[in-house]
């Protein structure tokens, strides 16, 4: 099962902010974490992640710093800011609303409409 591009894009910001809220991180690790969380179902590319991180930085939700690792190499770490935490809370409130509504439709009304019960197992 592949999640559509639109849905990936819509959930990208809360996903990244949520991961950074767990602790400071860098691009590669964030991608790994998303992969892990979604069991490999979310198809994220570098072209999606890095420009998104830069946009969040421009908006002031995250801040970045270069730290040296393994000798002379440097790595760019991202840290969530207070306004990023506020944005995350707001996004979470919205997502909760959406998710609750969807659950209400799919699970709450199962008895009355058995014909369009959705097979949650997926096709994959």
């Amino acid at each position: 099962m592949r999640v559509t591009k639109d849905l990936v894009a819509a959930s990208a910001t809360p996903m990244v902010l949520g991961i950074l809220a767990e602790g400071d991180s860098y691009g590669y690790a964030i991608l790994r974490r998303i992969n892990e969380l979604s069991g490999g179902e979310l198809d994220w590319t570098e072209g999606l992640l890095y420009p998104l991180l830069h946009r969040l930085e421009r908006l002031g939700y995250v801040e970045s710093s270069w730290q040296s690792v393994a000798g002379e190499r440097r790595r760019k770490y991202y840290r969530i800011t207070n306004s990023g935490l506020a944005e995350l809370a707001e996004q979470r409130r919205q997502w909760d609303t959406v998710v609750d509504a969807l659950k209400e439709i799919w699970l709450g009304s199962r008895d009355s409409r058995p014909l369009i019960a959705i097979p949650l197992g997926g096709r994959a």
């Binding site: 860098y26 691009g27 590669y28 991608l31 590319t45 570098e46 072209g47 999606l48 890095y50 420009p51 998104l52 830069h54 946009r55 393994a70 190499r73 440097r74 790595r75 760019k76």
Partner: protein, 457 residues
């Protein structure tokens, strides 16, 4: 580390990848570094999973996706990077480039200030812009262009010998401008003023090509520089006009007349400093912004061709002769200059290896129609001169006409060869760059020899 067998080879692959990434305008150095770190982590993991280093590299690069796609995504977030890459100072990616641009900026400020001060120095000796036009008109280039030449020579690390030659030529110009008894309003004064500027501009050109005097490529760079410099100067002048208008408007609103300040300080000092500032802008933005002069050329070549052909047709239909007054001769000289400019700037931007195309044919039509018109004018004017005798103005205009005619006639021949695939484009380029000293020589002749020849008329 990532090494498994070939650490050097892997590093070389990373270096190559970095090189490709850095060539993308959308990716700044820090982005490339961030992506490279990502790539390295990816390779590390694949190596840990049992792949060889080179296999791991290939897989990691493949996973990251093509640089095209990556750059496009970056461009959506950082669209400004495709626009204003001309940073004035600071913010440059590498510290070496940063110090260099800082030093350039400093040198520019010093030279621009020097030019602005120089133009005011004669006032200490009681001269005035309005009353002493006979002094300022021929000398104006001598106040500003040496500073421009100094800026360029400094940038190019010119040799001592070349600096000596440039200084000597400026000194010669100073002698020519001031040694002859030229009276206010005489023809020779106007001629000297115009031609000394041209002659001194070529001295600036000498400073510009300081690193390689004979190379046609460098001379072509100077032609490009001239076109861009002109465009920038006009833009700065427009901005200056707006500034002047607001200075007048705002101060007059509170009852103070800024007229003396504007005419005695703002205009002359601004115009002198802008000479250096425009050059600095051209040098600084050389590689980051597309040249505008060739674009204008592309726009106007078809239009000028149409007008000239229409003129020829109208001349044939009405069969009226051309009324050759002095103004007409100068007008046709200027026409040839414009046609030559259109030719030069399309040459300057043309890919030397490109096959002849429609535009080359259009250019041939432009040059040939200009030549046809000019021959008609020349026949008329030589008739007049043999009839009524000559003046400095007529002689200078005639000389210029002949010089331009020779250049354009041979250019037309070369363009014809190019269209018929007989000659190579390089021949045309070489002809134009090789011809540059002819203009300089003629300008010096008019400045140095004409006044005594015509009794300072």
């Amino acid at each position: 580390m990532t090494a498994l067998g070939g650490p050097d080879e892997l590093e070389a692959q990373f270096a190559q990848w970095r090189h490709y990434a850095q060539r993308r305008p959308e990716l700044q150095q820090s982005d490339a570094e961030e992506l490279e770190d990502h790539l390295r982590r990816s390779v590390d993991e694949l190596v840990a999973a049992g792949l060889h280093a080179d296999e791991a590299f290939l897989v990691a690069v493949k996973r990251m996706g093509s640089l095209d796609d990556l750059s496009r995504e970056f461009a959506r977030e950082h669209s400004e990077r495709l626009w204003k890459q001309l940073v004035l100072t600071g913010e440059a990616d590498s510290s070496v480039a940063d110090t260099r641009s800082r030093r350039d900026l400093l040198a520019m400020v010093v030279c621009a200030a020097g030019a602005a001060v120089s133009i005011k120095v004669p006032e200490l000796f009681g001269l005035d812009f309005e009353d002493d036009a006979a002094f300022y008109a021929p000398n104006v280039g001598l106040f500003t262009l040496p500073w421009l030449a100094a800026f360029l020579a400094w940038r190019r690390h010119a040799t001592k010998a070349l600096i000596g030659v440039v200084l000597a030529l400026f000194a010669l110009g100073a002698v020519a401008a001031n040694a002859y008894p030229l009276t206010d309003g005489s023809q020779s004064l106007a001629l000297t003023s115009i031609h000394l500027l041209i002659a001194l501009w070529f001295v600036v050109g000498l400073a510009y090509v300081a690193d390689d005097l004979r190379a046609p490529r460098r001379r072509m760079d100077f032609i490009r520089f001239t076109g861009e410099w002109f465009v920038y100067y006009v833009l700065i002048a427009l901005g200056g006009g707006v500034l002047t208008a607001f200075t007048f408007g705002t101060f007059e609103a509170i009852g103070i007349s800024p007229e003396t300040f504007v005419s005695q300080w703002l205009l002359p000092c601004g115009a002198a400093a802008a000479v250096v500032v425009a050059a600095w802008l051209v040098e600084a933005k050389q590689s980051v912004v597309e040249n505008i002069a060739p674009v204008l050329t592309r726009l106007f070549t078809p239009l000028f061709t149409a007008v000239l052909l229409a003129f020829l047709v109208a001349l044939g239909v009405t069969s009226a002769g051309i009324d050759v007054e002095r103004e007409a001769l100068i007008l046709f000289d200027l026409l040839l200059v414009v046609v030559l400019g259109l030719l030069l700037y399309s040459i300057s931007a043309r890919d030397p290896l490109a096959p002849p195309g429609l535009f080359d044919k259009l250019q041939l039509a432009l040059v040939v129609s200009a030549l046809a018109i000019d021959v008609l004018v020349l026949l008329e004017i030589t008739g007049r001169i043999t009839e009524y005798g000559t003046t400095p103005n007529k002689a200078a205009a005639l000389g210029e006409n002949v010089i331009l005619l020779v250049n354009l006639a041979w250019s037309a021949w070369l363009v014809l060869g190019l269209v018929r695939r007989r000659t190579r484009f390089e021949a045309l380029e070489r002809w134009q760059t090789g011809y540059l000293p002819v203009y300089a020589a003629w300008a010096w002749i008019v400045v140095l020899i004409f006044p005594p020849l015509f009794n300072y008329l």
